[in-house]
């Protein structure tokens, strides 16, 4: 494929969803078809970009570089390389799956038209973030994402309402801004605060270096920027991006937002939005202000590892309580997983950065799948609360029996989430730990990194612990007891279940064909990335080596 065609394709990538969102405004379009069609077209374009990408050539490809705001030196510069290509494809895939899912299983809220429009705006912003090669353009795209996600959480979010119609009186009494509105507000304010700092950092870099062009800045590796400037810029940009990642202790927007968001919101939030933060760290912080990054890296690593342990411990405590929201558990698990990404970045080694980028994709696939699955559970039970699922029994919800395919997939998601080798979660964690075994010598702090590595290893153990405890409570459970025996557990009743099929119990429909179709790509890619890690690492490795620059 000629470079020009690739440029056109890449430029179309954010344009198609943007045009789709405008089309959604027109009353003549049918939003039910528009959403899947526009996101599907975007996915095809993303696959075409991946197919047209020249794997043998390093550096940016498919560039569009046009003057945009000459007075400020801001350019409209798009491009793709081994770091952004996987994220672009992941974004297009997850958005497409969300669009398809939302048409069949629409979340409660205002109609399909605004939802479709917002989803497309969201996609344009996410793709723009990963394709932008100009700091200001990156910032705009980064901010562009906030409003649609805010509205998705606030308007289509779950206000923690119990099973429909059970407490109408309480419903009416609740103050107008429900938990979803509160969570959305917090998400918006938190991220905006971070973004403001980030913008100041960008201006600092851009004005001192005389350009906002990211490849140019990256190629300089900080030349021409004083140490003080670098440190200040790294701190400002770092905090802005760390809020998004989220890094402990700036994470407290995340659990509420994830819990309140509708399924598609949670999937995109965890699958793509968090990655925008870590992508920014790799793309901007590491190559453009290397001195500042080196100064901050040990702290970033330490906060990342605290996040790993913190997320795991909080999940462990939640999963042992009688009542705990599954979505909240998965949300907290994201803090731990993103901790590995932060640790990998902070090692400033090729292995660590490769691991961070791999973990980005792995987490997007796995947590996306988990949020879809938990959403399906919530649809069936009317709640994702463990106490509701278990329905009074203290032994588990026995999803393996009630809905074997759903239960099996949930167990698979949990197993992938705990970093089992052969699935996508493993390589990111492995490489992040490998990197911290011998972090960049220029950082000093060898012992610190070794301790952090050991603590990260402990984190994998704790993660395995709470995920398997979750499987135990959701998927496993007591045997089916016939309705009679439930009330009279007599000797006879205990011996009775000889029949191969258990007696009828409150029916839970198993995963439908439609649902399996939506989840299948995520399951397949989780396995492919796990079994053949070179798919991603061959892409990221040369790009990462270039980012780190000559040492």
């Amino acid at each position: 494929m000629s470079p020009t065609v690739l440029s056109v394709l890449l430029a179309l990538l954010p344009a198609v969803p943007l045009a789709g969102s405008l089309a959604a405004l027109s009353p003549r379009t049918t939003p039910r078809r528009l959403g899947p069609a526009a996101t599907g077209l975007t996915l095809l374009l993303a696959i075409a970009v991946a197919a047209g990408y020249d794997y043998g050539r390093h550096g940016l490809q498919g560039q569009t570089d046009a003057s945009w705001i000459p007075s400020l030196g801001v350019r409209f510069h798009l491009g793709v390389d081994g770091i952004s290509l996987p994220l672009l494809v992941l974004t297009a895939l997850l958005t497409f799956l969300c669009a398809v899912h939302a048409e069949r299983r629409p979340p409660h809220g205002p109609g399909a038209r605004p939802r479709t429009g917002l989803l497309l705006v969201l996609e344009a912003g996410m793709i723009g973030t990963f394709a932008a090669q100009d700091l200001i353009l990156f910032f705009l795209a980064f901010e562009f994402v906030l409003i649609p996600m805010y509205l998705l959480i606030a308007r289509w979010g779950d206000d923690g309402a119990p099973v429909a119609g059970r407490h109408p009186a309480k419903e009416a009494l609740r103050a107008p801004p429900g938990p979803a509105q509160g969570a959305a507000n917090r998400f918006l304010l938190y991220t905006l605060l971070g973004s403001v700092l980030m913008l100041v950092g960008f201006l600092l870099v851009g004005l001192h270096a005389g350009t906002f062009d990211m490849p140019a800045l990256a190629a300089r590796h900080g030349a021409g920027l004083g140490h003080g400037t670098q440190l200040a810029a790294a701190l400002l940009i770092g905090i802005g991006l760390a809020v998004k990642a989220p890094m402990w202790p700036l994470h407290s927007w995340l659990p509420d937002a994830h819990t309140a968001a509708p399924t598609i919101g949670s999937v995109l939030l965890a699958g793509v939005l968090l990655k925008m933060g870590t992508y920014g760290l790799v793309r901007i912080l590491v190559p453009e202000v290397p001195y500042g990054t080196r100064q901050l890296a040990p702290y970033l690593a330490a906060f990342g590892v605290v996040g790993i342990l913190w997320g795991a411990l909080v999940c462990l405590d939640m999963v042992r309580r009688r009542a705990a929201d599954l979505k909240r558990i998965i949300a907290y698990s994201s803090i731990g997983h993103m901790g590995f990404v932060l640790l990998g970045i902070a090692t400033l080694t090729p292995a660590g950065l490769n691991g961070a980028l791999f973990a980005n994709i792995g987490h997007g696939l796995i947590t996306g799948l988990l949020f879809f699955l938990v959403g399906a559970v919530k649809e069936r039970y009317g709640s994702a609360d463990l106490a509701v699922l278990e329905d009074g029994s203290d032994a588990g919800a026995a999803l393996y029996r009630r809905a074997p395919r759903l239960g099996g997939l949930l167990a698979l998601g949990a197993i992938a989430g705990l970093g089992l080798p052969g699935l996508a979660g493993f390589w990111g964690e492995l490489l992040a730990l490998l990197g911290s075994f011998h972090a960049d010598p220029a950082l000093g702090h060898r012992t610190t990194y070794l301790v952090l590595m050991a603590l990260g290893g402990l984190g994998t153990l704790l993660t395995a612990g709470y995920l398997l405890l979750m499987v135990r409570r959701v998927c496993m459970g007591p045997p089916a007891v016939p309705p009679v025996a439930r009330h009279h557990p007599s000797e006879e009743a205990l011996r009775a279940p000889n029949s191969p099929e258990p007696a009828a119990e409150p029916g839970i429909p198993d995963a439908s064909r439609f649902e399996l179709g939506v989840w299948a790509p995520l399951v397949a890619l989780t396995a492919v990335a796990g079994l053949w890690p070179a798919v991603l690492l061959r892409l990221t490795d040369p790009a990462v080596t270039a980012l780190l620059g000559p040492r």
């Binding site: 398997l468 045997p479 690492l537």
Partner: protein, 676 residues
């Protein structure tokens, strides 16, 4: 040709598992052939591979992925490599053969299980992962197989997830082994860092040439993983609980996969361990504690599967001891014979458990004529126990003696040198030799005693009668016990795994169903090597020709004391049973040690105190901090903002006089500042 063969050995069961999971509902008739045939073919190919490789060595590699390494331009690629030698190929044969027997046996044992399909697929994955560990030539790929095995064991042990003890045991198995796997991973990093590669041949070369800078640390970290997988003290506690899984799974885990992996790993990376006397001594001490402790526990257990589980722990201790004494071949020899006779013991015990309808030895001893209801299983159990007790000419005698001979060698500081290169820097401490030798002899005595006890209780009463305990007339139905809400987990563990499916009126039919051919033939297939495999070591052209060509013939200095210990143990067990008829000979022999031995010397309680409770406390603390402290500063920020807003609002009174007054005051202050 050879690499393709090795790849096929691994991929066949993997493909079978994948296809089985994906197509199961569409073609239920395919489940059984899909479970058995690829595994059997894989075993056959493993035999071909073993013959082709012989005592030679072969390395093949293809790149899997770059990692980037620790600095730019110095990549540490991960490769799809094979490191093949006699140790690898023989272990692969063992894995293939035992897995095939287990799959065949399972077709009958779990024939009415609604979850047979996923069960068979996971067993296939399990087999494939173990074969990957055995044949791979890359440390990271080894780690992949290693952990996949862990999750497969979790799934299989939790097969009867309706039972509380199965749920707990599955979780425990995974977490306890993972506790060892974390240091193990760091050990791999350290080895790879020192050797500059993840390839096993590179690491071995580096170890032999003394290029591993921290051999003791690396060996101890690796040891943690091996100890976890091979259920050595102090990470052994998952194995006895793992009995909650179906019996064929126990056979698979105990004989050929999972527990064998730890021993295999130490044998594979033996030069690294030989480079560190301290690590060898630690290994010897752990092996000694494991051997003696587990033998005492085995003597006290009531559940027949738990007795066998503890005996596995002890026999693995022998292998670890042999490795601590620098003799890889003796360890491999015992691994092979133990794999055969332990699989035989579990599978025949499974038949007996079906026939008796209970796991409990005390209950079994009250059933008269059990041996006549399942004669094949009875004889196979007997052969297996004779091999376990180390009675010649059964295989266990020869391999156990090889271990003891290695220990005896080591007491004088000599050892069978590994075949790779220069070994001048490698030493085996004499203390390790003495530790293993003495504990090995004591364990031989105890092993013979508990084997005798097991035999007397499980199949001892010869009179055939039909007076059976109520509910004990079990068929071969393996559906899990429906009793869930039993308050006492101990009680649940002792309840029969299998519920009655036949009425006493159909007693004849039920009797025939105790030993269907698919269960009988695997037993006899395993009985042959359990009996004869020991003889294969007699001639250096037989089994040793496939290993390092070191003789595995029994030596008089160790064979006589070990045989004496075994005979003494048998006599002790028998004498205790005679002295107090009707009583448990284990209780008589152990005396005051019985109560702690039943509970595994309270290791679980220690874990709960040292690990579980602190972690859960930390979890509570983290959640409290997250909910109440981190939140507080977030809310604090909001409150501050609101307060600031209110303060600013208050200034806007709308009173012109106030504004002017403040303006004037400000001007005066500025004026003063400028002047001064």
């Amino acid at each position: 040709m050879t690499p393709a063969l090795a790849a096929l050995v691994i991929l066949l069961p993997f493909a079978a598992g994948t296809v089985g999971l994906l197509t199961g509902r569409l073609a239920p008739g395919l489940a059984r052939p899909l479970a058995v045939l690829p595994t059997a073919l894989s075993a056959a190919l493993a035999v071909v591979l073993a013959v082709r490789i012989g005592s030679g060595q072969a390395d093949f590699a293809a790149p899997l992925t770059p990692t980037g390494g620790w600095s730019a331009g110095r990549d540490m690629p991960i490769s799809l490599a094979f490191h093949l030698d006699g140790l690898a190929t023989l272990t692969a044969v063992l894995v293939g053969v035992v897995a095939t027997c287990v799959q065949i046996y399972s077709t009958s044992y779990l024939r009415d299980d609604p979850r047979y399909r996923s069960y068979a697929a996971v067993v296939s994955f399990f087999t494939s992962a173990m074969l990957l560990v055995v044949l791979t030539g890359d440390l990271v790929v080894l780690m992949v197989g290693w952990e996949v095995m862990g999750i497969c064991s979790y799934l299989l042990i939790g097969h009867h997830w309706e039972k509380r003890d199965a749920r707990s045991a599955s979780l425990k198995a995974f977490l306890v082994t993972k506790l060892g796997d974390v240091p193990f991973l760091f050990g791999l990093f350290l080895l790879a860092f020192d050797a500059g590669t993840f390839r096993i041949d590179g690491v071995l070369t580096a170890a032999v040439n003394g290029r591993i800078d921290h051999p003791t640390l690396a060996a101890l970290l690796l040891l943690a993983g091996a100890v976890g997988k091979s259920a050595q003290f102090p990470l052994h506690t998952w194995l006895p609980d793992a009995m909650a899984g179906p019996t064929p799974v126990s056979a698979l885990i105990h004989a050929a996969t999972m527990v064998a992996a730890g021993i295999y790993l130490i044998a594979r990376l033996h030069p690294v361990f030989l480079a560190s006397g301290a690590a060898l001594l630690v290994l010897a001490v752990l092996a000694a504690i494991t051997m003696i402790g587990s033998a005492l526990c085995a003597l006290a257990q009531d559940d027949v599967k738990r007795v066998l589980a503890y005996s596995t722990v002890g026999q693995l201790g022998y292998m670890a001891g042999a490795l601590a004494c620098g003799d890889r071949d003796a360890a491999a020899f015992h691994l092979l014979t133990h794999g055969a006779f332990k699989a035989l013991l579990f599978l025949s015990a499974g038949v007996l458990i079906h026939a008796a309808g209970t796991n409990s030895l005390a209950a079994m001893s009250r059933i008269r004529g059990l041996r006549h209801r399942a004669p094949d299983a009875f004889w196979c159990l007997t052969i297996g126990l004779l091999a376990l007790a180390g009675i010649p000419p059964f295989s266990g005698f020869f391999s156990k003696d090889a271990v003891l001979a290695a220990a005896e060698h080591a007491t004088s500081g000599t050892f069978h040198a590994p075949p790779t290169g220069d070994v001048t820097g490698l030493v085996v401490p004499a203390a390790a030799g003495w530790t293993v030798l003495l504990s090995g002899l004591l364990t031989a005595l105890l092993t013979a005693a508990y084997a005798t006890r097991l035999w007397l209780l499980a199949a001892g009463s010869p009179t055939p009668t039909l007076t059976l305990a109520a509910g004990a007339d079990s068929g071969a139905d393996s559906r899990p016990q429906p009793v869930e809400n039993s308050a006492d987990p101990q009680l649940t563990a002792h309840q029969p795994t299998h519920q009655p499916a036949h009425q006493p009126a159909h007693q004849e039919a039920a009797d025939a169903a105790h030993e269907p051919p698919a269960q009988r033939w695997p037993l006899w297939a395993l009985a042959v090597p359990s009996f004869a495999l020991g003889l294969a070591g007699l001639n250096t052209h037989w089994l040793p020709a496939l290993l390092d060509q070191v003789g595995l013939r029994p030596a008089t200095t160790t064979a006589v004391p070990s045989l004496a210990c075994a005979v003494l143990g048998v006599l002790a067990g028998w004498g205790a049973a005679r002295a107090r008829p009707g009583a448990d000979p284990g209780r008589t022999l152990l005396g005051p040690l019985h109560a702690p031995a039943v509970r595994g010397f309270y290791v679980d309680a220690a874990y709960s105190l040292m690990f579980v409770r602190p972690v859960l406390g930390a979890a509570r603390l983290a959640r409290f901090l997250d909910a109440d402290v981190v939140e507080t500063y977030v809310r604090g920020t909001a409150a501050t903002t609101r307060g600031a807003g209110a303060a600013v609002r208050r200034a806007q009174t709308g009173n012109i006089q106030t504004y002017l007054g403040v303006l004037l005051a400000g001007a005066v202050v500025i004026g003063i500042l400028v002047v001064v």
